[in-house]
């Protein structure tokens, strides 16, 4: 027993706390419900977390830079609406549905990127606190979306769009592929490129970064723009799931899930350090908790309570470690 405790102590617990929590949760869930480990259920969980998961990758960058982005949920809705409207009008112009789809994807990334760039500009050039800027744009983009869609649903006329997001490769849904591919790429950016290093420096101490000849504003601007682009990707995938967007519901409370995944994944809220894989584990933890609560029949109204508690506990544990 004693040697087991010793062994536990030697494990890099601190570094992999979120992965260990994830494994623990998987083991626990498999006991709680016999259906949990069925491939179908697991794939479902993966698909469900991928939409907010993709956004939380960008959120990881923003939080490492010691910022925050509250606007992601509204921007998902806005971008989703614009993408479908753009595709619907392009159907008569472009020769094939595939080309329309590609144009739609591009539109999503560009529109989302522009929304992110707007946040980034206000924060760097305008020198307004990220919380305030993105709180403002959260309201702006939701209201614009409701206005465009008259607070109702916008239907896509492109049948291929509805199929594309539901496709699977080797049994793995497209959104999950996108999530894992982007996670790998951004992990490399964070750990192996100049930008990643600068991002941590800016989040760790902005003044030191400035004295070290780092263009602090540019580093921050890129983080918000990247998040916007990822929000665009997520919006395209989410819209294709129903081949429509609901302007009042789409992306609602996504900022909460995205921030929660980042925090549970061990990224410091104060900025300066964090990991992409931690965020992926964090997103999966949230997904599994949701899934389990559905399976054991917890009222959906109580799920927010559990989620909130998990976030608070994660931050509490983070504080204790310091």
């Amino acid at each position: 027993m004693k040697s087991f405790v010793e062994l536990l102590r030697k494990l890099p617990l601190r570094k992999h706390a979120s992965l260990i929590a994830l494994i623990f949760l998987i083991v626990l869930s498999s006991f709680l419900s016999p259906y949990f480990l069925k491939p179908r259920n697991l794939i479902n969980i993966m698909r469900q977390v991928s939409y907010t998961g993709i956004i939380s990758l960008g959120m990881t960058f923003v939080i490492i830079s010691a910022g925050i982005d509250l606007s992601v949920g509204s921007v998902v809705a806005f971008t989703g609406a614009v993408v479908i409207i753009a595709m619907n009008s392009l159907l008569t112009v472009l020769p094939s549905e595939l080309m329309v789809l590609l144009a739609g994807i591009l539109t999503g990334i560009v529109v989302g990127g522009c929304a992110g760039a707007f946040n980034g500009l206000m924060i760097t050039r305008g020198k307004i606190a990220p919380f305030i800027v993105t709180l403002g744009s959260m309201a702006i983009f939701r209201s614009l979306t409701l206005y465009i869609g008259n607070a109702g649903e916008i239907q896509s006329k492109n049948a291929l769009y509805g199929k594309f997001g539901m496709e699977s490769l080797f049994g793995v849904p497209v959104p999950v592929f996108v999530l894992l591919g982007l996670a790998l790429a951004l992990h490399l950016v964070l750990n192996n490129t100049r930008y990643g290093r600068y991002l941590c420096a800016v989040g760790s101490n902005q003044k030191v970064a400035l004295f070290s000849a780092i263009n602090v504003d540019r580093v921050k601007f890129y983080a918000y723009t990247l998040t916007g682009m990822l929000v665009g990707v997520s919006a395209v995938l989410l819209g294709s799931r129903f081949n429509a967007v609901s302007t009042s519901n789409m992306g609602l409370a996504f900022e909460l899930d995205a921030i929660a995944a980042v925090i549970i994944g061990g990224t410091a809220m104060a900025g300066g350090r964090g990991t992409i894989w931690g965020t992926v584990w964090g997103a999966l933890i949230l997904g599994i908790i949701n899934n389990m609560m559905n399976m054991v029949g917890v009222s959906p109204y109580l799920q927010g309570t559990v989620k909130g508690l998990v976030i608070i506990i994660a931050v509490y544990v983070q504080k204790q470690k310091q």
Partner: protein, 504 residues
């Protein structure tokens, strides 16, 4: 009265550790009632830490404190206040947005019977105290409008506003002019005559000689000397502070080539610098002296593109420089070692390697995707580790676990890894121990020999005198003297820095 009875405070075997670094080693001494006790030591010797323990800001790792023979536990500044111990800290502890009298009574506000603030009495008492000190500050002035010296006076008021038996003054004269120092000394003598015991911390030996009865010397956290001031010469004090002959500390001065490398002409920054002109020769160490706030750091910040200037020009090798951002300065070959190590020099959460290459990172990531060559990075950090005799468990250790001296070595590595032609070193030995200090000096000597020029901003006279070929002295944002050769001495520097000649 025998000696034992007159001992007011007894410090017994105090040790203090910060994370893994021991900054005080088993320090024991006594403070006698009614004396002015001088405590001297180099930066980082542990003087301030010791006083922070006495005033309840830090807790000792081990050891005991006795007051009049009774063991006391000073857990916080309030405890210290109750025991009659007041401290005038080295760094100002004033709230800028509040008025003078608000600050004097902060935390111990006087109240009327109804529980409201008794502003009238507080203002009156503050005015009295200020008058005693011989300064003309209004009790209702806001702190942010005061000069450094005036703030110091407010700090003194704060300490004197309440009955105290022991007054600790931590380097109170570093921001004062000679005139103000004279007022302060007069006040100290009067307080002593009224029965107060004063602990006076300084590294200015002349002041110790003038005002103190007894002197204690701390070196690298060890207690090394305890003698009546009358029995010890300034030379002996200096030697026990440093632990060796003073002249050994500084490397031999080389002879710079005559060619001007950097020329600064009529540089002005509104409200900060006025008509600053100087030249820096190849291989020269050009000192910058002056009081705190004289504008020396501002000159450096302008040279590296952190401040924009309204007039003047900067020439490097005869060519005008366009410096708008710190990146421009780095590319032009100007590098800056910040005076505020943790505030703007290094990232304490970053490893030794990542700090070393932070400014020079483009060199390690020259590919299109800016991929970092981690092997190259590690090799560079390893070279500096050997060059500086850096003491660290590993190169992946975050800097928060390193001592001040070792952090400074990393900071210096970071500044020169950009391969500069001009290094601006701003207080490069602040808060480092004497061994690290000497290493920094010898390193600056080496790089200058290799043809790099150095601007050395320093508040330590010995440093300016021992290291520099020429010394520029500033006051209120303008240059008041450029000293050469024999002129570089304490009196001349102080004269240019304050405009007052000693004894005059």
């Amino acid at each position: 009265m025998n000696q034992k009875e007159s001992e007011l405070v007894q410090i017994a075997g105090i040790c203090k550790d910060f994370s893994t670094v021991r900054v005080l080693h088993n320090v024991s001494f006594a403070v006698r009632s009614g004396e002015i006790l001088g405590i001297i030591g180099e930066n980082g010797a542990g003087k301030s830490t010791l006083m922070k323990i006495l005033s309840g800001i830090y807790q000792p790792t081990s050891g005991e404190i006795f007051l009049e023979g009774r063991k006391v536990d000073i857990r916080n500044p309030l405890d210290a206040k109750k025991l009659g111990i007041s401290i005038i800290p080295q760094e100002f502890n004033l709230v800028n947005d509040l008025t003078v009298y608000d600050n004097v009574f902060l935390g111990s506000e006087l109240r009327t019977k109804r529980g409201f603030l008794d502003k009238k009495t507080m203002k009156k008492r503050t005015a009295e105290l200020l008058e005693e000190l011989g300064v003309s500050i209004s009790p209702e002035e806001r702190i942010e409008n005061l000069s450094a010296a005036e703030k110091q006076m407010v700090e003194i008021c704060k300490a004197l506003a309440f009955k105290c038996r022991i007054l600790i003054m931590d380097e109170p004269t570093s921001v004062l002019t000679l005139h103000e120092i004279a007022i302060l000394f007069r006040l100290m003598r009067r307080l002593r005559a009224e029965g107060m015991t004063i602990i006076y911390i300084s590294h200015k030996l002349k002041e110790i000689k003038e005002i103190c009865h007894r002197v204690l010397v701390l070196r690298d956290g060890y207690f090394v000397l305890d003698k009546p001031v009358s029995e010890v010469s300034p030379e002996e004090m200096a030697q026990s502070m440093v632990g060796r002959e003073l002249s050994q500390i500084f490397p031999k001065k080389g002879s710079p080539e005559g060619v001007p490398l950097l020329e600064v002409r009529h540089l002005s920054v509104p409200g900060v610098l006025k008509d600053v002109s100087f030249t820096l020769k190849k291989g020269e160490i050009l000192g910058f002296g002056g009081l705190v706030g004289a504008g020396r750091t501002e000159v450096a910040e302008t040279l590296i593109g952190l401040r924009s200037f309204s007039e003047g020009e900067i020439l490097l090798k005869g060519r005008p420089l366009e410096i708008r951002t710190p990146r421009d300065a780095v590319q032009a070959g100007i590098s800056y070692l910040s005076e505020d190590r943790q505030g703007s020099g290094i990232l304490t959460s970053f490893s030794v390697v990542h700090n070393t290459t932070l400014t020079s990172l483009p060199r390690y990531s020259s590919s299109r995707v800016q991929w970092i060559d981690k092997k190259e990075e590690l090799a560079a950090a390893q070279r500096y580790r050997e060059l500086f005799n850096l003491k660290t468990p590993s190169l992946a250790t975050p800097l928060e676990f390193l001592s001040g001296g070792n952090q400074q070595k990393v900071s210096l590595s970071k500044s020169i890894d950009t391969e500069p032609v001009v290094l601006i070193a701003d207080e490069p030995t602040r808060g480092v121990d004497i061994a690290a200090k000497q290493e920094v000096y010898s390193f600056i000597g080496q790089i200058v020999e290799r043809g790099i020029s150095c601007i050395l901003i320093s508040s330590e006279m010995e440093e300016l005198i021992g290291m520099c070929h020429r010394v520029v002295v500033m006051q209120d944002g303008r240059i008041t003297g450029i000293l050469e050769g024999e002129q570089i001495c304490e009196e001349e520097i102080m004269f240019c820095a304050t405009g007052i000649r000693e004894g005059a």
